[in-house]
């Protein structure tokens, strides 16, 4: 049986095939159950050392990765840019090489620069997982979004998913577009012109200028966080104005022809991109996303940590004829 492999790193969903994305989602399924056990731990990654290298603030992603690592029995170390030698001006590669000299196996990296994960992956032997790089990709977030959508609809193919808000600066939006289109969803984006990247249609998505149109069209809305510093930079006139024109409100959802599933990667700005009554209401699967995040990250870690093909060849005799 040939099983698609993920290779050494997970840098984004753009380079992955449909089969590889499906493999991750399918592998995440049994990991959900592990987190429901009284003893939430399996020994699959025992003896592996994983460094979570976070050059940018993160609560959810970092904790989610850490839970995933611990539930697979890996040993973990968290390095934050603050309080580390990064502050003294050490560059990314030196930091990583020093860590690697301590015999680590995997690095989860979050970095404000697009391409940082790939830059690192090309220079160290350890597996590298992109936990969000600049405006490029945030693959595990998109994977958990897709798992959550699949849980609800039992499929992704043919679904209409609209990503709303700040598309231009959002790595979550970009990874979602790659992943969803590869799995056969119809993808649209909706947001102010100033927050829409140029030539976005070339990624195969539809553009809605009005949130009402998006809601009328969609099965799923994935509402991106409006980064508040964008307002200071003049992309939008005011938060109140944004909410009035683009806010996902209960009134707008009630006019939709069907129930629309609401996702948000967090942290939410209640009353800016999303109405509190929507975030906490029956349409929302925002907390399911968080639960699924741990399962998806366990799946990614597990698949990347697996052995090397040449060793698999040598050990083949071990697997013949059942147990």
């Amino acid at each position: 049986m040939t099983v698609p492999s993920l290779g050494k790193d997970l840098l984004g969903l753009e380079p992955l095939s449909r089969e590889q994305i499906q493999l991750i989602l399918d592998t995440a399924e049994p990991f959900k159950e592990v987190s429901e056990r009284a003893i939430k731990k399996v020994p699959a990654l025992r003896g592996k050392t994983i460094v979570n290298l976070f050059f940018e603030a993160s609560t959810r992603t970092r904790i989610s990765f850490e839970f995933a690592e611990k539930r697979l029995s890996a040993d973990t170390v968290n390095v934050a840019a603050q309080g580390s030698s990064v502050q003294k001006g050490e560059n990314l590669v030196d930091t990583a090489r020093n860590l690697e000299s301590m015999r680590i196996d995997m690095v989860v990296i979050r970095h404000p620069s697009s391409g940082a994960a790939q830059f690192l992956a090309e220079r160290i032997r350890s597996n590298v997982i992109n936990g969000g790089d600049g405006m490029h990709e945030h693959p595990t977030q998109a994977l958990l979004d897709m798992l959550t959508i699949r849980d609800r609809f039992n499929r992704i193919e043919g679904l209409r998913v609209c990503i709303c808000g700040d598309i231009a600066h959002s790595r979550v939006a970009r990874s979602n577009i790659w992943g969803l289109t590869k799995l056969g969803a119809e993808v649209a984006v909706c947001g102010p012109q100033s927050l829409m990247p140029g030539a976005i249609e070339e990624l195969g998505v539809t553009v809605f200028r009005r949130i009402e149109e998006a809601i009328e069209w969609a099965d799923v809305l994935n509402v991106m966080r409006l980064q508040l510093e964008r307002m200071e930079a003049g992309y939008i006139p005011s938060l109140r104005e944004y909410y009035r024109v683009f806010g996902v409100t209960l009134e707008r959802l009630e006019r939709a022809p069907r129930d629309v599933l609401i996702l948000h990667p967090g942290p939410m700005n209640r009353g800016v991109e999303i109405d509190s009554r929507v975030a906490d209401g029956p349409h929302s699967v925002i907390l399911d996303q968080v639960t699924n995040g741990v399962a998806v990250r366990m799946a990614v870690l597990y698949l990347l940590a697996g052995g090397r093909p040449e060793l698999a060849e040598a050990a083949k005799g071990d697997r013949g004829g059942g147990a």
Partner: protein, 183 residues
């Protein structure tokens, strides 16, 4: 290269008779069905466990609790053979404490699967006793593990493959020995 030689060890009725005997032996082993829980190892072990639970339940007029377990995450060879991405479902009865558990698998070979299963069970509870029932014991143990109930003992070399086919997965019941068929 000569094609591997395939020999039928048990046909469908042979499998049925053997399972019948295994079910009797399990009840004997556990001294009845009061605390008995059957746990099948994914995938074919769980199919066999389900049938055995049904057979025992019919005969004794008492439902036998059934669990299924995938031991992939407890294997000791992730480093060398890579992950088996198809991790199956694990679904065990709520409370395993003080139970008489019989693990059911299709083939007993190196014993490593059972070692993993024992580790996994220890994370779920503290059964009173754990036994092992297998349809085929093909020898070749690498660990000090033996089955309590064996349907059929076969002398197979590492170059051979023992195929257990079950209706649920393969559309028919049979046990076949493939000489030199090591996959």
């Amino acid at each position: 290269m000569t094609p591997p030689e395939r020999k039928v060890l048990l046909d469908a009725s042979g499998v049925a008779k053997t399972l019948e005997r295994i079910s009797r032996d399990i009840v004997g082993l556990a001294g009845g069905t009061n605390n008995l829980v059957l746990i099948g190892i994914q995938r074919r072990g769980s199919d066999l466990a389900q049938r055995l639970a049904h057979m025992i339940g019919e005969k004794r007029g008492q439902d036998v609790p059934l669990g299924v377990m995938d031991i992939t995450l407890y294997r000791d060879d992730l480093q060398t053979v890579g992950p088996r991405p198809v991790v199956g479902e694990t679904r065990l009865p709520q409370d395993l404490d003080h139970k008489w558990i019989v693990i059911v698998d299709d083939v007993l070979y190196t014993g490593r699967t059972i070692r993993a299963a024992l580790d996994q069970l220890a994370d779920f509870g503290r059964p009173a006793r754990i036994g092992l029932a297998v349809l085929v014991d093909r020898g070749g143990r690498e660990l000090p593990i033996q089955a309590d109930v064996v349907g059929l003992a076969v002398k197979a070399t590492p170059a051979d493959r023992v195929d257990v086919l079950v209706q649920e997965q393969d559309g028919r019941d049979a046990v076949e020995l493939v000489r030199g068929g090591e996959s």
